[in-house]
């Protein structure tokens, strides 16, 4: 059976070069960077090299990188850490309504304490208007957090413009770049942001590693108290194999950014064009042009996402969906809701997240496989029957 993996937003394979870089840090070079002997030296040097590699991807200083366990911890550290550290200054947060749950729920947790949060809405493409952020900022706002790009619908935000508004208002600005880093150019200085989250696993690095960049001077209360690793910003023995892998993955992502983006964009556009032409009543979600190179996300009317996924899986095609039935949350995607997608349409969401190993043949296989599946499910669907009776089609 063909195997076409198009769920890179859920997981990427570790690149061979990355796995090779990690291997010694599991076995021979297993030292702890805090140790004072030679094994410690080796680990310490590797840790610093990884810090440089990650910093280079986003134009930051190595000293400003804190290694954490993933995108979720980076976001929680940013949102909660900055809030708690600033709680004598104010207690209001601004986030967008399309943030990943690791930002959104972190802010909601703060709201269970003495903080308030404002969720800034988006347009139908999932775009945040910087002026809405301006309007949401109050005198007691201590943090604005708006993601660089949304992984579910692909929309790339106007990060520099939003950062400029926050800066003008004197409020620190964090951006969740987990879905964006490695795919669009991100330079923390050019963007004018104060904190940025990135994760290893979207960069073809190992799961279990991430990084929070924080501009020097921005105060942070650590989420993980313990030893004085990471300059006191995060306790715990460093995940050396993971960090080394993330470093290597970041280095490769920086080196190949342009060519990766170009290749993925071509595949993405082939897929979008092909599906839009062959499947009636299909809608693209997210912004039509300002979108991540790897993201092709749709709503298929009259049918439900999980059933599409299962049929595609039988054809060897791996994708995901924001439908309630693919998550244990029993609620549809908050991102689609924020984009004003009606709930019955949101059920039919399907996300193709393209990756480095994908080929035009993979895309063509999807273009061949999906339309009959959609047709079959529509033939089963009472909604489609109604639509036809009401004169559609």
């Amino acid at each position: 059976m063909a195997e076409v993996y198009l769920d890179h937003y859920a997981a990427t394979p570790v690149l061979a070069e990355v796995a090779d870089a990690m291997r010694p840090y599991l076995t021979e070079d297993f030292g702890n960077p805090s140790s004072l002997h030679q094994r410690g030296d080796t680990a310490r040097e590797a840790l610093y090299a990884a810090r440089e590699q990650v910093a280079a991807l986003i134009g930051a200083q190595p000293e400003e990188i804190t290694f954490v366990s993933g995108g979720t911890e980076a976001n929680n550290t940013a949102v909660k850490g900055v809030s708690w550290a600033a709680r004598r200054k104010g207690n209001h947060l601004v986030v967008s309504s399309v943030e990943h749950f690791s930002v959104l729920n972190a802010a909601r947790t703060m709201a269970k304490f003495d903080f308030e949060m404002t969720e800034v809405g988006v347009d139908d493409y999932g775009m945040v208007d910087p002026e809405d952020v301006r309007a949401a900022i109050r005198d007691d706002t201590v943090l604005v957090s708006v993601m660089a790009a949304n992984g579910e619908i692909g929309t790339v935000q106007r990060t520099a413009d939003i950062a400029a508004v926050a800066r003008e208002k004197g409020v620190p600005f964090h951006t969740d770049a987990v879905a964006a880093a490695g795919y669009i150019p991100l330079n923390v200085t050019d963007l004018g942001v104060d904190a940025m989250s990135i994760a290893s696993d979207l960069l073809y690095g190992p799961k279990g590693a991430g990084a929070l960049w924080v501009r020097k001077g921005l105060r942070l209360m650590p989420l993980l108290d313990g030893g004085i690793q990471e300059d006191g910003r995060r306790g715990g023995t460093e995940n050396m194999p993971g960090i080394v892998g993330m470093g290597k993955a970041a280095e490769l992502a920086a080196r190949d950014l342009a060519s990766r983006a170009e290749g993925l964009t071509a595949l993405r556009d082939r897929l979008i064009k092909g599906l839009m032409e062959t499947i009636p009543r299909l809608r693209l979600t997210g912004h039509p042009s300002t979108r991540l190179p790897w993201n092709a996300s749709f709503l298929v009317e009259f049918i439900e996402g999980e059933s599409m996924l299962l049929f595609l899986d039988q054809k060897g095609i791996s994708v995901s969906s924001g439908s309630a039935c693919t998550s244990r949350a029993l609620k549809g995607s908050h991102v689609l809701t924020a984009c004003d997608v009606p709930a019955e349409l949101a059920s039919g969401s399907i996300l193709f997240s393209l990756g480095l190993e994908n080929t035009p043949e993979d895309i063509d296989y999807v273009l061949e496989s999906l339309p009959p599946i959609v047709e079959r499910l529509r033939q089963m669907s009472p909604l489609y029957a109604k639509y036809l009776k009401e004169g559609g089609g």
Binding site: S323, C325, P382
Partner: protein, 134 residues
């Protein structure tokens, strides 16, 4: 902790090859449950001959479990007497499918409900007829 569920082989088999998909133009009873906003919607159609379900068809909008449940319910009901069909419970459906993941149990509810609703529709139509002819 419940690990995210996997479907049994029977569920997958019914999902891939659902029995009795379709509509019955001159159905004796029709039952619709759920709505697309909740992510699941099922319509059951029945034909009744001599107090038995001589035909059962369905259309379903929903996840894999919803489709498999619809298929299983249609198969279980087919040929049964009204009374027998009314006795098909949610648990029976799930059992026949070799179990359903916890978070999908509501789908088995929907299936039995839709069938029962179609039977009730048939019964109330019968009553109307009897009232007219009686």
């Amino acid at each position: 902790m419940v690990e995210i569920a996997q479907y049994s082989d029977t569920v997958m088999e019914h999902f891939m090859n659902p029995r009795n998909v379709g509509e019955i133009e001159d159905a004796d009873g029709v039952g619709e449950v759920g709505n697309p906003v909740c992510g699941d919607m099922m319509t059951f159609y029945i034909k009744v001959d001599d107090g038995r379900l001589s035909d059962v068809k369905f259309k379903t909008f929903g996840c894999g479990a919803a489709i498999a449940v619809s298929s299983m319910v249609s198969e279980m009901a087919m040929g049964k007497t009204i009374d027998e069909a009314l006795k098909i419970t949610r648990e029976d459906v799930a059992d026949q499918l070799g179990g359903l993941p916890k978070q999908k149990m509501h789908c088995s509810n929907l299936g039995a409900d839709a069938l029962h609703k179609a039977i009730q529709d048939y019964q109330s139509k019968q009553k109307e007829k009897e009232a007219q002819h009686g």
